[in-house]
């Protein structure tokens, strides 16, 4: 009887499942700046991405406008695939296959639907003036730069 009890104890200690941390998940957390895209990138484009531990993200991007626009939402990492949804309910344009740089200083996102669409982000703190000046999009995707400031 005692031996069986000992075995059970040993068995129950050994049965506790360990928390598995997805290294991709851990690797994307941080602040990043788009450093290159496909075979080149216009100087006029700037994109910062912030992935948080709580599975939320923030994007600051200067693409369609000459000032920074802020997007927020939630992201998900499933194995090595990154996907997400914006707070306005719109899904990301694609999901991305993630490759972490060996030194942890870069992440490469390849569009799952188009392997020619490759974004490489380098670790970089988002500048305070970008954060301060960025404006939000409405849920209808309208720029509200003016409304925010001038009513």
């Amino acid at each position: 009887m005692a031996i069986m009890a000992a075995l059970c104890i040993m068995a129950s200690v050994g049965c506790e499942p360990q928390e598995k941390v997805n290294p991709i998940q851990a690797g994307v957390v941080g602040e990043w700046k788009l450093s290159s895209w496909s075979d080149g990138m216009s100087e006029d484009i700037e994109v910062y991405a912030v992935f948080n531990n709580d599975m939320t993200f923030t994007l600051y991007q200067k693409v369609q406008y000459v000032y920074f626009v802020k997007y927020t939402g939630q992201y998900l990492v499933t194995e090595n695939v990154l996907s997400g949804t914006y707070d306005d309910g719109k899904a990301w344009g694609a999901s991305y296959t993630v490759t972490l740089g060996a030194d942890g200083q870069t992440i490469e996102l390849v569009n799952s639907a188009n392997i020619d669409d490759i974004s490489i982000f380098a670790k970089s703190t988002v500048p305070q003036d970008v954060i301060d000046s960025a404006v939000s999009m409405t849920s209808r995707g309208e720029e509200i730069y003016m409304l925010d400031r001038f009513l």
Binding site: D39, D44, V63, Y67, G84, N114
Partner: protein, 679 residues
């Protein structure tokens, strides 16, 4: 009674524009082919342009002889015959800029003063015989653009109080405390029906949004080429450009050796004296009025505002007074040329020119033949080699289109390289008086007196509120005027804002880039060119169809906020993959894009970029002004749009027309989120 007087005053002003068809005389003999005449020349006055090799001999001869001989024997014989009094350079030496003056060839221009009774034709012929003389030109007088209805200011008081908007209205839209800002619908139009019953909110230059970004910079100097600006006006003084060397120097002395004496706030090029306020002319404060629109001091608790007037801490753009009108006198071609060169050499980057020829000139060549010195002066002002400011390589001259109701712009505004401004009223319609059509490039508020004046108002007091409110001095410190003369300084002020922002951002623009920005930062005006409105017909008013203006007011009406955003940078056009897109490009080419005339190659993309993006089919612009393109591979590329700014024909030597514009925009072909997010 007041109404009747006002009507007559308006009719007179409009009617007084001389209706002369320009004579361009090119005589048959070879020597005479060097002669450019004018039908309004100064007597005893001739401009002579020397050949490159001859000019150094002329220079030493003139300096040795006390400015009455050149040392060229045959020429001196002619000079003696015509009774020479004085020979001097058109552009006096400014030792700081002599090198670039000579590079531009401006040292070859001379003006010869001689016996006024000597026949001009004979004098010209004799001078033209001289081999060393390349060209001879009569020195014609500049005429001002006839202002349509210069009406004296209405004193503020009970009259104004009764029609003030609710306190919240305009004040909420701007952060300045100037008490008269609510009258300046042309900066921020909130639709105050006290101004005009048919007023439309938004018919303005959009200062409400622009002023949140910048309101000016004292390093940006705007030369007001006009009557003298009242430099000590309480709402202008703090924004006057000051030549400190002259201000602190000795009276009667050219303290800074710039070729002019006592030029403290500018100079009087009409009379070749220090600035002199006009006192005998109803139009005397014309220069003061336009200066106020450019940069009346903002947020100082008095008067109104100026587009680039600052925020009340001494940060407004600066006004330089380049006087070419004094009472009934106008500067000659030489005087006007000197005004532009002076402006450039003393730091101005915008030339605000609410004047023009009231002669019916319809080609660049014809205008050049009567005002070649002036045109060369303006070109020097705009030249990229004449650097005086970190924001722009060169300068931009902005002209009024004229008030003669012609379907073509007056010159020099109509000159193909120069910007010409048409006038808009407070309801987006064209001002009844405005010239339009060939040579006109962009619109801005100029007022329309036949609106508030004829409002069906039981208390009809002949209100002028639908005109433009600014600084004056002839009959009060503030007052109303209307005209393309008033529209022009709105563009100059907006340009000053744009360059102020460029300084703040550390950007340097080329003149072409900046002109492109000014002419594509517009909202559509053609959609308002419909229906009827009043115009003056003699002493009466009559309704007329305004559809004739559609497509002829320029690219649209200027928007100061768009100018600032375009100075900040050019956004990319996102293009989705795998599907033919029809993309709105009004953000890049202005709100009037559907009405633009594109050139032979409306949109260009290099073969390399086409292959990179896997473009299928042609890249085109639809009839409604949309970019049509299908990309199949992700990547970024540059597209160029080529179009005409102002009208449907390009200006040329032979005929006035619009300016050729190329705008480059980056496109990014990618599957982005439907809300535009990168991921």
């Amino acid at each position: 009674m007041k109404k009747l007087i006002v009507l007559l005053a308006v009719a007179f002003s409009v009617g007084c524009a001389k209706d002369l068809t320009e004579q361009v005389t090119v005589a048959p003999q070879s020597a005479s082919s060097k002669i450019l005449t004018s039908s309004d020349p100064a007597a005893g006055d001739m401009i002579v342009y020397f050949g490159e090799e001859a000019v150094s001999r002329v220079e030493s001869g003139v300096s040795r002889s006390g400015a009455t001989r050149t040392g060229i024997e045959q020429l001196d014989g002619v000079l003696e015959r015509i009774g020479v009094k004085h020979i001097e350079r058109v552009f006096p030496v400014d030792i700081r800029h002599e090198e670039r003056t000579r590079e531009a060839g401006l040292h070859r221009w001379y003006v010869v003063k001689f016996d006024e009774s000597y026949d001009l034709g004979k004098a010209a012929a004799a001078l033209a015989e001289i081999a060393e003389v390349e060209r001879v030109q009569y020195n014609g007088y500049v005429r001002s653009v006839a202002d349509a209805g210069v009406v004296r200011p209405v004193a503020s008081g009970d009259e104004e109080q009764a029609l003030m908007p609710t306190a919240g209205e305009t004040r909420a839209a701007a952060k300045f405390n100037d008490p008269d800002l609510y009258l300046q619908w042309h900066y921020i139009n909130t639709g105050n029906v006290g101004i005009y019953s048919g007023i439309k909110a938004g018919a303005d230059v959009n200062c409400a949004e622009a002023w949140e970004v910048t309101a000016g910079d004292p390093r940006i100097i705007v030369a007001v080429v006009d009557d003298a600006v009242k430099w000590d006006h309480p709402d202008l003084a703090d924004n006057m450009w000051v030549n400190t060397a002259e201000k602190n120097g000795v009276a009667g002395v050219d303290d800074d050796n710039n070729g002019y004496v006592d030029d403290v706030y500018g100079y009087n090029f009409a009379m070749d004296t220090p600035l002199t306020l006009s006192t005998e002319s109803e139009l005397g404060d014309h220069g003061t009025h336009v200066a106020g629109t450019v940069a009346a001091v903002n947020n100082n608790g008095i008067g109104g505002c100026g587009v680039a007037g600052g925020t009340g801490v001494g940060d407004g753009a600066r006004i330089m007074s380049c006087q070419i009108f004094y009472n009934q006198y106008g500067a000659t071609d030489v005087g006007t040329a000197r005004a532009f060169k002076y402006a450039a050499d003393n730091g101005a980057v915008i030339a605000q020119c609410s004047y023009g020829s009231s002669r019916k000139i319809t080609s660049d060549r014809a205008y050049y033949s009567i005002s070649s010195a002036e045109v060369e002066g303006v070109k020097y002002f705009e030249s990229p080699t004449v650097r005086r400011c970190a924001a722009i390589n060169g300068g931009v001259a902005i002209f009024a289109a004229g008030n003669q109701e012609w379907n073509y712009s007056c010159y020099p505004g109509a000159y193909r390289e120069f910007i010409s401004v048409t006038a808009m009223a407070c309801d987006y319609t064209p001002g009844y008086y405005t010239c339009y059509g060939k040579g006109a490039n962009v619109a801005a508020p100029g007022g329309d007196y036949l609106q508030s004046f004829f409002d069906d108002d039981a208390n009809n007091r002949g209100s002028l509120r639908s005109e433009i409110y600014s600084t004056t001095y002839v009959a009060g410190q503030y007052g109303y005027m209307q005209g393309t003369s008033m529209a022009c300084p709105h563009v100059s002020g907006v340009a000053a804002l744009g360059l102020s922002y460029a300084l703040e951002l550390g950007r340097t623009l080329s003149v072409e880039e900046f002109k492109t920005i000014l002419l594509t930062s517009v909202n559509d005006i053609d959609r308002y060119c419909t229906g009827q409105k009043y115009r003056l017909a003699g002493n009466a008013v009559s309704k007329y169809d305004i559809s004739k203006y559609a497509g002829k007011m320029g690219t649209g009406y200027i928007d100061a906020f768009q100018v600032l955003m375009n100075v900040k940078g050019t956004p990319c056009i996102p293009v989705r993959l795998g599907v033919k897109q029809s993309i709105d490009i009004s953000k890049f080419l202005g709100g009037g894009v559907a009405g633009l005339t594109f050139l032979d190659k409306p949109v260009e993309i290099s073969p390399v970029d086409k292959a990179k993006l896997g473009v299928e089919g042609e890249v085109t612009i639809s009839s409604t002004g949309k970019l049509q393109i299908k990309c199949t591979k992700p990547g970024s590329a540059v597209v160029k749009f080529n179009f005409i700014a102002g009208g449907s024909e390009l200006g040329s030597e032979e005929g006035a027309g619009g300016m050729a514009i190329t705008k480059e925009v980056a496109i990014i072909a990618r599957g982005m989120a439907s809300n535009g997010g990168w991921l």
